[in-house]
């Protein structure tokens, strides 16, 4: 039961922070299928910073990785922003193109850096395991779920709270949401649509980077090109299911997380051979499809989503 909850949360929350990134971008009117690439490149930069700057004994390793993943994700998101906003590319194509490029770049650079800096023939960056709450606050290490909870779970909750506040309670957030529904109104009111959208896409990259490095730590405790597991797409499904709103998206992510950990728990209970893990891996995807079947119809996407903003259009 305990692993069921902590595994579920450890999977759901990175997904959630990536989905918030998606919400930022899509609420500003930019379709963002590039989340997958951004989370991977964010994780790549974070892990790279760790292997280059520390020697495996640095206590703050995880936070350093998170910081750099955040920066790396934002930096990589610039490509999507420039392609979609400045170069007016098709946003769906741009997103997919960026994912393909990210997969290629991460694999290539990881191999190259391993070979040239460490003299190893590998495409992995070894990380330590993510710290748990119990190791940081000595008093609670015995508490059931909390003690073994990874530090990133509360961190992501705080980040999510801030992101929620900015999106719904500040002037910038209002502009951002207006850009996705009626960019001409924003323009008429003196706002800058292109700049707001640019910032929104960068924010989505930064948030995806955070999610990506959490996945890298949680799932494998290393970075390898197998980080591209479709979790970016999974978080897109979550945000569509959550109707482009933060709180319902959290619910969707939790559902995915518990569907996955529940599957593993059942497999363990029935003592199934390890080949069955392949079938369990399909659970989040099947749940996604089923949920989309039931909820896509009533969904309200931002009205200007995916449209190239054209000032002269009436």
């Amino acid at each position: 039961m305990e692993t069921f909850i902590s595994d579920g949360l450890s999977f759901a929350l990175p997904l959630f922070v990536i989905a918030i990134g998606g919400i930022y971008s899509e609420r500003s009117g930019i379709t963002n299928l590039a989340l997958e690439g951004m989370l991977g490149m964010g994780a790549f930069v974070g892990a790279l910073a760790v292997v280059l700057l520390t020697n495996g004994a640095f206590a703050g390793e995880f936070y350093l990785a998170m910081l750099f993943a955040c920066l790396g994700g934002a930096l990589f998101a610039v490509i999507h922003a420039v392609l979609c906003i400045n170069f007016r590319a098709n946003q769906v194509i741009s997103g997919v193109v960026i994912n393909i490029l990210a997969t290629a770049l991460a694999a290539f650079l990881a191999k190259l850096i391993n070979a040239s800096v460490f003299g190893q023939n590998s495409n992995k960056f070894q990380l330590s395991t993510a710290p748990t709450l119990g190791t940081i606050i000595p008093g609670i290490s015995g508490v059931p779920v909390l003690g073994k909870m990874y530090v990133f779970v509360p961190i992501i909750l705080v980040v999510a709270l801030i992101a929620w506040f900015i999106l719904y309670k500040t002037r910038f957030g209002m502009h951002l949401r207006a850009c996705g529904d009626n960019p001409h109104a924003v323009d008429a009111a003196g706002g800058n649509v292109a700049r707001t959208r640019f910032i929104a896409v960068l924010a989505s990259g930064a948030l995806s980077g955070i999610g990506g490095i959490c996945f890298a730590y949680y799932i494998a405790a290393n970075f390898s090109p197998s980080i591209f597991m479709g979790y970016g797409y999974l978080s897109i499904a979550a945000l569509i299911f959550g109707n482009w709103r933060v709180m319902p998206t959290l619910a969707a992510c939790l559902l995915f997380g518990f569907a996955r950990s529940g599957g593993y728990a059942v497999a363990k209970l029935l003592a199934l051979p390890s080949t069955f893990s392949n079938l369990i891996m399909t659970l989040p995807y099947i749940v996604t499809l089923l949920l989309l079947v039931f909820f896509s119809k009533t969904n309200r996407a931002p009205r200007a989503l995916g449209e190239i903003y054209d000032k002269g259009k009436r």
Binding site: V97, L101, A107, M229, G230, Y233, N278, L292
Partner: protein
């Protein structure tokens, strides 16, 4: 491209790219050249010789001779092997194009390929049917299985308004894991850790044929390439169904207003797209290979997106862009072993080509604006020196858009 460039530069650019009718060729060529240049710079930065790297790719595909060959092999061996990968690539890219013309983005090609390949392997590959019965059956099963998956995606889009990108990605993963489960449970070859080899009679490749003293694998799937290209071309240029699909792709509302069924056309287009992907799947798993590696989706499905965008979704254009991208992806194996360059550079080149291709619209509008400015400045020059004759051809801007 800087805004304040001299008119000499502008004239040079317009001389090459100015003709709108040729832009569907010149811009992709520009994309390719630019990405090759960028990767050449990258290779130089790594201290590798880019020319040697590109030659290595061509050598690996049997287009340029290698320095030495093993006994009984030769350029023809490599070239036939190249054609064997080229065929699935062309089918897959046609599949992307059919969906894209209808405004749908079929990113699930890899999954559809795997599903078709797996079903055909299990049903025909492990049977002892003679070739005359097995080969047509492989194709029919592949096409049907692919169409089924494509149709599901189209149906989900039409009936439940599910974004086809998300649903096809989900199906990709589901198919990947489920197929890998079945292979590991029932069909695994304990030595290769792949699925057991299929019977030779059901393989779309005739292996080890000796031509001019060189052993080569004849790719039968190549025979289906011309019909597939003609089919796609005729579908969109000559038939009512194709016309309706294109209309739906250009404007759903306009198509609906004209009385066309948007949903029906979307499902139909995904059926056709899936069928082509299924063909690609059997050509790949029961042609180029004769077994399936569990847990992996082929990169052909993703490269085919690049091929299709680069070929402007045009069946004939796709033939040429398939050639190019396949040289890069297939040739990279030999290049990497002969020149010690990481093979991943191939996907980077493909990725860069894609990025530039994604900007096609931007490049077009930039060129149109450049042209306007050129005409204006010519008019101004003409006003200053009135006795110079007017260059009439440049004045008409017909045919744009």
């Amino acid at each position: 491209m800087k805004k304040k460039s001299g008119s000499g530069f502008r004239r040079a650019v317009l001389a090459v790219f100015g003709d709108e009718r040729r832009q569907s060729i010149t811009i992709p060529v520009f994309a390719v050249v630019l990405s090759l240049l960028a990767s050449a710079v990258m290779l130089l930065a790594l201290g590798k010789d880019p020319i040697n790297a590109f030659l290595g790719m061509l050598r690996g595909c049997g287009i340029v001779p290698k320095a030495n060959y093993a006994a009984k092999t030769g350029m023809l061996t490599d070239f036939m092997s190249f054609l064997n990968v080229l065929a699935p690539m062309i089918f897959a890219a046609l599949a992307v194009a059919v969906a894209s013309k209808t405004g749908l983005f079929n990113i699930g090609i890899s999954g559809q390929m795997l599903f078709a390949g797996f079903i055909a392997t299990v049903v025909v590959g492990y049977s002892d049917l003679p070739a005359a019965a097995a080969l047509p059956l492989v194709i029919i099963i592949g096409v049907t299985a692919g169409a089924l998956v494509g149709g599901i995606i189209g149906f989900l889009k039409y009936r439940f308004n599910i974004n086809e990108v998300v649903s096809s990605i989900m199906l990709n993963y589901i198919i990947q894991y489920v197929v890998s489960f079945f292979i590991n449970m029932y069909y695994v070859d304990p030595v290769s850790r792949q699925s057991m080899y299929i019977s030779n009679a059901s393989r779309l490749t005739i292996t080890g044929v000796e031509i001019f003293g060189m052993k080569a694998d004849l790719p039968l799937a190549m025979l289906l390439v011309p019909p597939a290209i003609i089919f796609a071309k005729v579908l969109f240029d000559r038939t009512k169904i194709g016309y309706e699909m294109k209309s739906v792709g250009l404007s759903r509302n306009a198509a609906r207003y004209a009385g066309m069924s948007v949903g029906k056309n979307m499902v139909l287009s995904m059926l056709v797209s899936g069928a082509l992907a299924g063909l690609a799947g059997v050509a790949y798993y029961l042609g180029y290979f004769n077994s399936i590696q569990p847990g992996v989706l082929t990169s052909v499905g993703f490269d085919s997106i690049a091929v299709s965008i680069l070929g402007n979704y045009n069946p004939v254009g796709i033939f040429f862009s398939s050639f190019l991208i396949t040289i890069v992806s297939k040739g990279s194996t030999y290049m990497s072993s002969s020149a010690a360059i990481p093979q991943e550079i191939a996907s980077i080149i493909t990725g860069l080509i894609l990025v530039v291709s994604a900007c096609t619209f931007f490049i077009r509008t930039k060129l149109a604006r450049m042209k306007e400015r050129e005409i204006e400045s010519r008019k101004a020059a003409e006003a200053a020196t009135p006795d110079e004759p007017v260059p009439a051809a440049e004045d008409s801007k017909g045919g744009e858009r």
